[in-house]
Symmetry: C2
DNA sequence: TTGATATATACCGAGCGTCGGTATATGTTT
DNA sequence: AAACATATACCGACGCTCGGTATATATCAA
């Protein structure tokens, strides 16, 4: 069966991890930055997604640290996670391309 | 509030209509084609989405025809629908770009 | 002529992922 | 003392899609 399409928050989490391991809160901030403030990950979304991505083998635990007596749990992309993200990115780019081409070739059609 | 992100089937329906009015079944076939067979719109998804998009003012009824004693209901993008699709396409392209850049700069990191 | 496939519309329950809120806990800033 | 940032995690509600079903006509194959 064809690969099911991914939601934006999930895609952004994988993208955040594509530049190296990060902990949950770091992902939230990174995603906010790379999306121009558009995607504000909710705690519920983040940790639910992280658990799901781990179960799917796309993300795994990197290490745990204690910073200022607060736990930091770092996650990283697996090889499968990188592949999956690459596929998704290619799909998004393709979809964007088709839409833009069609919009452009019909840009002057109002009322025609 | 920021514009909520759109799911792939919805995006594809708008894209299909970006090249001109089409009826429901035509949209299904068009979307299958432009997605390389990846997105097979279900009847439930299509008509539910069409109703929602009409309620949101992104799509409107174009005309109705009878072909071979079967009803054909044509839909078209509104100006708001075109704008919305353009925004979405730009967003997708941006997301794909960030993901690809990050994957590329980390392409040789396995085991590092 | 019976069944399968294509065209064409539409509804419905189930499932999944996100949203929004809440809880817990520590450190810093006002 | 209150507010805010850091940091994790759970939970109910909501929305969109999935998968199945229903209806109806036309064509094509067994």
């Amino acid at each position: 069966m064809p690969i099911k399409s991914m939601h934006e928050p999930t895609f952004m989490i994988l993208t955040a991890l594509a530049s190296g391991p990060q902990h949950g809160y770091g992902i939230v901030n990174d995603v906010s930055g790379i999306s121009g403030g558009r995607v504000k990950l909710r705690a519920g979304t983040l940790y639910t997604a992280l658990d799901r991505l781990r179960a799917d083998g796309l993300v795994e635990l990197d290490r745990e640290e204690i910073a200022d007596s607060r736990l930091r749990r770092y996650y990283r992309l697996t090889a499968a996670g990188s592949e999956r993200l690459a596929e998704e990115a290619a799909r998004l780019r393709g979809n964007a391309r088709v839409a833009m081409m069609r919009l452009q070739s019909n840009s002057g059609m109002a009322g025609a």
